[in-house]
């Protein structure tokens, strides 16, 4: 097909539809799933049907996003509501991919737990849609609604296991605190709107620059409250308290999804907001700096004290949010590129880890302690290997994508003179060795407690495929990250403040260029 998508005019309905193609595909799929569900919702086969439809929809949406990306779709001028740039497409892939992997893992999980709720997939689609809107939002209003769409769906997903008191509690906690945080976010939006008379991100940036609002109190309070709202979604310390409990209580595939996609979406939106709207406002740098430090340190320290794998992973995901916040704090195009790459790596390793946990925990994965993995390497070498790769990648050992991701963030940090932040990051990483390595130790270096210790471990074909794909991805991107790095770089660069206005913004450090 030979169309020129580089000059989309979003005020024309046709162009708008093209620009929103992935979202529309996904919406259609969601409705389709609802229709399917409305009439088949009793047996595992029904579940599978809904799941495959979902997967097909995700694939189609991914294809749409790919097409837009491939054609370098672009809307010149100030986009009204939705951005048409590489950052959005790449983020879309990430969400769609995560959702797809989650669906694959969920099949077996839902059947095993007898959770014959095909609406699960519809909610997953809605949540993914919300994320895509967040990442593409060019207007705070879209962003807020996308966030709420995602949140509402994920609240339900967290509590989808109605037989589980823990799941109900997780949903309640997530919901109450989430709604509370939404209040702050909304207030922040209101104040920003009050200071700039607009909710369009680019226009906010323009207003800030032209009106010299860098020190406008209303804007700053609004900015602070926005950060609170996002801080909650990304589980930044001290807004993280919900995360361990909710991750712990939710069904494991949902936890994986929350720990990756939900967090990624919030980060993507945060990036857009800070990069496009508040690029010229210096105030947030220090705040995010401290949030990053606190998140890294607290997340890693508390993770040290965990005995069960699931909670450990929950705290670990908080720690990783801290690393991502470093990329945010850096705030340059390199930062967002590093962020994108890290998200990919982080998503792969976290999803795979949760998938493996789901496989291990036939009788309640909440109770799987690290010691329960003792001797796994003897009994199930491949599973142990996969989990070990995940752990090493989370730890950031070279040869895994986790390392390249961390490296990229460090590049971004050092290139902006944030040496101290980089140092804190690596020191926090050292702490993380204290809880990732024991998993490996248990699997490889401790004897099996009994013959039957790992008998119940089941990883179905689809789950195995997910894990294998993730691990392969981790290793591949650890050795050959070139293409992904390039994509991340060009996409990251697409999140920019309107070029004309950053007159008194600090000069951006020079970008690394190849030789």
């Amino acid at each position: 097909m030979n169309v020129d998508l580089s000059t989309l005019d979003l005020s024309r309905p046709g162009d708008l539809l093209i620009a929103l193609a992935p979202e529309l595909v996904l919406t259609t799929t969601a409705l389709l799933v609802l229709i399917v569900v409305a009439w088949r919702h009793r047996t595992p086969q029904d579940l599978r049907l809904a799941g495959w439809v979902t997967l097909a929809g995700l694939g189609a949406a991914g294809l749409a996003a790919w097409f837009l990306w491939w054609q370098a779709a672009h809307a010149p001028g100030i986009a009204a509501m939705i951005a048409v740039d590489d950052f959005r497409f790449v983020a879309d892939w990430l969400f769609l991919g995560t959702a797809g992997l989650t669906v694959l893992v969920s099949f077996e999980y839902l059947e095993r737990e007898a959770l014959l709720v095909p609406e699960y997939f519809a909610l997953l689609l809605f949540a993914t849609l919300g994320m895509m809107l967040m990442a593409g939002a060019q207007d705070l209003m879209v962003l807020f609604l996308g966030l709420e769409l995602m949140s509402v769906a994920v609240y339900v997903l967290a509590g989808i296991n109605r037989r589980s008191a823990a799941a109900a509690e997780a949903a309640l906690k997530y919901f109450l605190l989430g709604a509370f945080a939404s209040g702050f976010l909304l207030y922040g939006i209101a104040l920003v709107y009050g200071a700039t008379a607009t909710t369009n991100l680019t226009l906010i940036g323009v207003q800030v620059a032209t009106l010299g609002l860098q020190h406008n109190t209303m804007l700053l309070i609004g900015l602070g409250l926005l950060l609170v709202g996002f801080g909650f979604k990304v589980a930044a310390v001290p807004f993280h308290m919900w995360a361990p409990d909710v991750y712990d209580g939710s069904p494991t595939p949902v936890t994986g999804y929350m720990a990756t996609a939900v967090k990624a979406a919030a980060f993507a939106a945060l990036f857009r907001v800070l990069g496009e709207a508040f690029d010229a406002v210096p105030a947030w740098h220090a705040v995010v700096w401290w949030l990053a430090v606190a998140t890294m340190v607290v997340g890693n320290l508390i993770a040290l004290a965990q005995r069960t794998l699931k909670r450990m992973l929950a705290y670990s995901s908080i720690a990783h949010a801290g690393y991502l916040l470093v990329a945010v704090a850096v705030g340059t195009a390199v930062g967002s590129a590093a962020f994108l790459f890290y998200l990919v790596a982080y998503t792969l390793m976290t999803l795979a880890a949760f998938a493996l946990l789901a496989a291990k925990g036939t009788d309640g994965e909440r109770d799987v302690s690290i010691d329960d993995l003792a001797g796994l390497a003897q009994r199930r070498p491949w599973l142990a290997f996969a989990l070990a790769v995940c752990m090493l990648s989370l730890l950031g050992i070279p040869g895994t994508a986790g390392f390249i991701g961390k490296w990229y963030i460090l590049v971004a940090a050092t290139a902006t003179g944030q040496g101290l932040l980089a140092a804190v990051l690596v020191l926090a990483s050292v702490i993380s060795a204290g809880y990732y390595l024991p998993v490996i130790m248990a699997m490889y270096m401790q004897p099996e407690p009994s013959e039957q210790a790992h008998a119940g471990m089941r990883l179905g074909r689809l789950g195995a495929a997910v894990v294998a794909a993730s691990v392969a991805g981790l290793l591949f991107f650890g050795v050959r990250p070139n293409r992904l790095l390039d994509i991340a770089r060009t996409s990251g660069a697409s999140v920019r403040a309107a070029p004309a206005v950053s007159s008194d913004a600090p000069p951006a450090p020079r970008e690394p260029t190849g030789r």
Binding site: V156, L176, L186, Y187, G194
Partner: protein, 98 residues
């Protein structure tokens, strides 16, 4: 001319909402406090809209939709927890901790 007072009242209401969330343990009441916060923000929007254009009012419109959606899901969740625990007092809802 009502902007300043409205913003102040809004801030006060918002603070009261936060105060309520801090003060109460009943999940439903806390949720109501959150609604109070949202309404406080609505007041801000409306007050600003008077000076800045209709977008503020539209925002209120959307916030109402969000509030409705949250209410539906939130109350369903509260029902679910009540079914499990027989209470909505958050002090007793701490299975997950550590």
């Amino acid at each position: 001319m009502l902007l300043g007072p409205a913003l102040f009242v809004s801030a006060a209401l918002f603070t009261l909402g936060v105060f309520g969330v801090l003060l109460r343990r009943n999940a439903i009441v806390i949720f109501m406090c959150v609604e109070l916060m949202l309404n406080a923000v609505n007041l801000t929007f409306v007050a600003l809209a008077q000076r800045l254009g209709v977008a503020g009012q539209l925002f209120v419109f959307f916030v109402m939709a969000v509030a409705a959606a949250e209410a539906a899901v939130g109350l369903a969740i509260i029902l679910a927890i009540y079914r499990h625990r027989g209470t909505v007092n958050l002090q007793n809802i701490n299975l997950l901790k550590g």
